[in-house]
Symmetry: C2
Subunit: 208 residues, 2 copies
């Protein structure tokens, strides 16, 4: 055994920083064996543009804001998710009343959940590479009754999430189907992460 | 306040029994606010027929085997999942070597994950109603490298699950997309559960 500080650097020891406060994104990374540090960027989440532009732009802002203050060698991942529905770009509902109204509009319809991903490679405290990829997943909403919508909004869950719904929480029974990456809907597409890591010569398995 | 025994029976107090040892199914029920008891049926999981027939038949066997020994009032849910791929019906891999071979066949291809659901209503210890519904979700497998397949199988995860893959575990980065209910792939379609409960005049919200 050599002393801790003398071990050769291995890919699996690369620090992974999640530039997001989202418990769902943290859970997804842990699901695939990555235990990230979390640093919240404080980036203002208001933005204009198409759903894909908003998600990509905010993901980049979050990742770069955190990467600038990350020393040593690390990967910093920023993500942002918005729902595109009926020509509108929807973030988190502003109030319980708005969440109820939104669900009355969503039920029985289809939307597209866009998540922007920005992976920044930091080497010796400097931004070395910035990789970006956005993904969109079609979401087919179910038909919860008025009572179910009221009960769901009363749990508070819809107010915490882009589009006012989850597929990985209480809302899971109210979404009939998705078409695309389901983890993209939760907030971080795991197949996109795999591809971004591959561009850096890395694999999720390096963290196992 | 009336004494505990005098409270009127409310839907939310109905006992929910999961007739499955699957941690993933337990997690899905808890995700939508249902804390089930678990009773494992001991049903022999070998069966012939199409993927949909196998999944539906085993789900029914599991649910009825447990319902027969369930006293009082309860709902008993049995589920079974199999992967249909290239004309074959695939359950859990029999060995690590088979899991590796299977992943070499799966990568870059598409399969259909079938889950059978059987919800049995037990009233005063007797089977009152048997509701069944099967669902199939298209699964588009990613393209893990040989090294990633070897590392994945070495974790043991593929040996525990139908088809030898997960979307809610380490395998999540190796599945590019699904088309349909993603919880159906995990082992229990939450929108199907919602519909089966609705046929009994119930809602997942009754357990909140």
């Amino acid at each position: 055994m050599t002393a801790e500080g003398q071990r050769p650097a291995r890919p699996k020891q690369l620090r992974f920083v999640l530039a997001s406060a989202s418990p769902a994104r943290l859970h997804l990374l842990r699901q695939v064996g990555i235990q990230p540090d979390r640093v919240v960027s404080g980036v203002d989440e208001t933005s204009d543009g198409s759903a894909a532009e908003v998600a990509a732009g905010l993901a980049r802002c979050k990742a770069l804001a955190v990467a600038e203050h990350t020393g040593g060698d690390a990967l910093v991942l920023g993500c942002d998710s918005v729902l595109e529905h009926d020509g509108r770009v929807l973030g988190k509902p502003a109030s319980a009343a708005q969440a109820v109204d939104r669900w009355h509009e969503l039920r029985g319809t289809t939307g597209r959940l866009h998540t922007g991903h920005c992976l920044v490679s930091v080497a010796r405290g400097q931004v070395a590479q910035v990789l970006e990829r956005a993904d969109a997943t079609v979401v087919r909403f179910g038909t919860p009754t008025d009572d179910e919508i009221a009960a769901y909004v009363a749990t508070g869950e819809p107010l915490q999430v882009a589009g006012g719904f989850t597929i990985d929480g209480l809302g899971g029974a109210f979404v009939d189907a998705v078409e695309g990456s389901h983890s993209n809907v939760i907030g971080l597409s795991l197949p996109v992460l795999r591809r971004l890591l591959a561009e850096l010569g890395l694999s999720v398995c390096d963290w196992w």
